[in-house]
């Protein structure tokens, strides 16, 4: 056994080079042409400014101010990853890139189009997309909705625009799944949120093609606080996809998003995220779904970059027979800590949940699975199954598993399994005996390891993900 880590030794020698070509491969840093931006740092004045610029209703301003108070009062969380280096005074809290939102592709500024090209979104792909929402800096810069969606009554807008158009829906749902007091970063987002998507699927409507959104951070020291609100009415179905690729910057950046999903009786909603933030970003996201009777919520969450990610998509199963699912992939490379997981709160009878987490740590990275399965006394005959598998690729990397099971109903059936291992010698040898190089064999094994989740992704995402894994493996052992 001890003679093994040949691959490991090589990995060590190459750690420095790993992300050297990241910028040319994924990074882009367009000239910053933002029209309006707040000064660095946060105070009440900044919040009033943001709200005024957006011409928001009074109640939203008050909501922001109350949330800001909560944010100030709350101490920095001391569990999980180390967040103490975040300097809130260095962050720009609002940035508006173009004067107004554009509806047609022709109107989109050329440099943003270039950005999309480098992201690998071919023009033709739009044909396949139900609607494209792309966030350039803090606000939605481009949005297009297919006519058929509009006809069916599906609303897919930037959250800012939706607030202007559908204030009554906001008063009913906004901040109701995740109140600002939930945690310090949800409070911060509530105070300074900007951009994000609003999705409304009317009763019985099934949206066949995924709704897609691309978010990016493109200004140094710029905070990104998008806010997404999704309402899936009774018996509806939709799949929302968001992907991130961030340019490389030396200074730390903060991404603190809030995503609220309301799944009504018999509705099914799938929310897919693939994030590849550059490794100077703090990615602290609160995602929560409230799932009613017979509803199904699926979170598919891929975390590949960032300096620190703390993200635990959760399902509050409030109606009978509600089902929650989280499929999560985390990759932590050099200087990264992926602290990701899931929460399932069973609050009604016959509710069920599944969590499947696959993590990979390499080049000194650390992955932590942190999860909660909570079965309340009311949740008779509930079932939950959790599977966590971690791969550690070299001796400098680490992995943790912190699941919590709180079961307050005697009839609950709960299972949790977790494994931590390295890539098996025999597997590597077997593949190399068939003529593969070591990096090829490694990337094949790693791809196989995450395949159960990757196969759930839309095709273009799974291709991109596998390509990323290949590049990472080449960088390590080639």
């Amino acid at each position: 056994m001890s003679e093994k880590p040949k691959a490991v030794k090589k990995q060590k020698s190459n750690v420095g080079d790993l992300r050297a070509d990241y910028k040319t491969k994924y990074g882009f840093n367009m000239p910053d042409k933002s029209v309006y931006r707040t000064k660095r740092g946060l105070n009440e004045e900044v919040i009033r400014d943001i709200s005024k610029t957006k011409d928001e209703p009074e109640w939203m301003l008050n909501f922001r101010l109350r949330a800001y108070k909560t944010f100030k009062e709350r101490p920095m969380p001391q569990w999980g990853a180390n967040l103490n280096d975040i300097n809130f005074d260095e962050i720009v809290y609002y940035l508006k890139p173009t004067d107004q939102e554009k509806r047609s592709w022709e109107d989109v500024p050329e440099e943003i189009k270039q950005t999309f090209e480098r992201l690998g979104i071919p023009q033709a792909e739009r044909e396949f997309l139900a609607g494209v929402k792309a966030q350039y800096d803090s606000e939605v810069a481009y949005s297009s909705l297919r006519d058929e969606l509009e006809e069916e009554g599906v609303i897919f807008l930037s959250t800012d625009e939706a607030l202007r158009k559908y204030p009554q829906l906001f008063e009913e749902y906004f901040g109701k799944a995740i109140p600002p007091a939930d945690n310090k970063f949800a409070a911060l987002n509530s105070a300074v949120w900007s951009g994000g998507s609003f999705v409304y699927i009317p009763k019985g409507v099934e949206v066949k093609r995924p709704l897609q959104a691309y978010f990016r951070i493109n200004a140094a020291r710029m905070g990104q606080f998008e806010r997404t609100l999704i309402i899936a009415e009774e018996g509806s179905f939709a799949h929302y996809v968001e992907g991130c690729t961030a340019p490389v910057y030396s200074s730390d950046s903060l991404h603190a998003a809030v995503v609220e999903v309301f799944v009504k009786p018999g509705a099914r909603f799938r929310y897919t995220t693939i994030q590849n933030w550059s490794n100077d970003v703090y990615n602290l996201v609160t995602k929560r779904a409230r799932v009613e009777k017979d509803g199904v919520m699926e979170w598919i969450d891929g975390n590949l970059g960032s300096k620190i990610t703390m993200k635990y998509p959760s399902c509050y199963l409030v109606g009978e027979n509600a089902h929650g699912e989280v499929l999560s992939i985390a990759y932590a490379g050099q200087g990264m800590h992926q602290d990701a997981g899931a929460k399932m709160i069973h609050l009604a009878p016959n509710t069920s949940s599944t969590i499947i987490s696959k993590s990979i740590s390499a080049y000194g990275g650390r992955t932590s699975y942190r999860g909660l399965v909570n079965v309340s006394p009311l949740a008779e005959n509930s079932k939950s199954r959790v599977e966590c598998d971690a791969l550690i690729l070299d001796a400098d990397s680490a992995s943790d598993t912190f699941p919590v099971m709180k079961i307050s109903n005697s009839s609950a059936q709960i299972e949790h399994e977790a494994t931590v291992s390295k890539i098996g010698e025999e597997k590597l040898f077997y593949l190399m005996s068939r003529g593969l190089t070591e990096p090829e064999a490694m990337s094949l094994i790693v791809s196989g390891f995450i395949e159960p989740i990757v196969k759930e992704l839309p095709m273009e995402y799974s291709l991109e993900l596998n390509r990323l894994i290949e590049l990472e493996m080449e960088g390590s052992v080639g």
């Binding site: 912190f402 399994e417 390295k422």
Partner: protein
């Protein structure tokens, strides 16, 4: 392997220097008292087991923590917890496996299985893995649930009544672990500790 009874009332920390089974029984356990069993592996080539067996009577609570801390290379540990919960019991279990950076070639496993017999039960389980070495094999599994009704039905179809069936299943549940206890005297003691 030697079998050693651990008295869980004490906050117990052991340096593992020879292959040992540490067996904790809870029949005389003071209600609600915190207890911790911590094994530290500082000698290469050593393997050990932590075996915790309990049958918590009505209205009692249990607070148990086990730690398997691997510091040097080439050690192994198997933590096995089997519990049966009667009505209105509370169980809090934290099971840690810590593998330090130098502790290559470690294998460490934990299995926590709880059978719920009564109503109004609260069961909290936190199996934790903190792994800082790569050439290791570590896993944990935790499950909680009632007896599978198909098993009861199967045994009923062979003429046992419901109570007899569930008693037999509970007996089997503990048996699988009891049989791994090397010392016959300790095994006997453990078997008595989990009798209803």
């Amino acid at each position: 392997m030697i079998s050693k009874i651990v008295h869980p009332e004490e906050n117990t920390k052991f340096q593992v220097t020879e292959n040992t089974q540490f067996i904790a029984l809870f029949n005389d356990y003071p209600d609600g008292k915190e207890c911790k069993i911590e094994l530290e592996f500082n000698t290469e080539g050593i393997s050990a087991e932590i075996i915790c067996l309990y049958r918590l009577p009505e209205r009692k609570s249990l607070h148990l923590t086990t730690v398997a801390k691997h510091i040097v290379p080439h050690t192994s540990c198997n933590t096995v917890v089997r519990g049966v919960l009667e009505s209105k019991t509370d169980s809090y279990y934290i099971g840690k496996i810590l593998i330090k950076k130098q502790a290559q070639q470690t294998s460490s496993y934990l299995s926590d299985r709880v059978l719920v017999l009564g109503d109004g039960v609260k069961n909290n389980s936190e199996p934790i893995l903190e792994i800082e070495a790569d050439d290791v094999s570590a896993s944990h599994g935790a499950s909680t649930g009632r007896i599978n009704p198909d098993e009861i039905y199967y045994l009923q179809s062979r003429g046992l009544n419901e109570k007899e069936s569930s008693d037999l299943i509970v007996e089997g549940f503990f048996n699988k672990v009891l049989e791994t206890i090397a010392d016959p005297e300790v095994r006997e003691l453990a078997a008595n500790a989990v009798k209803s």
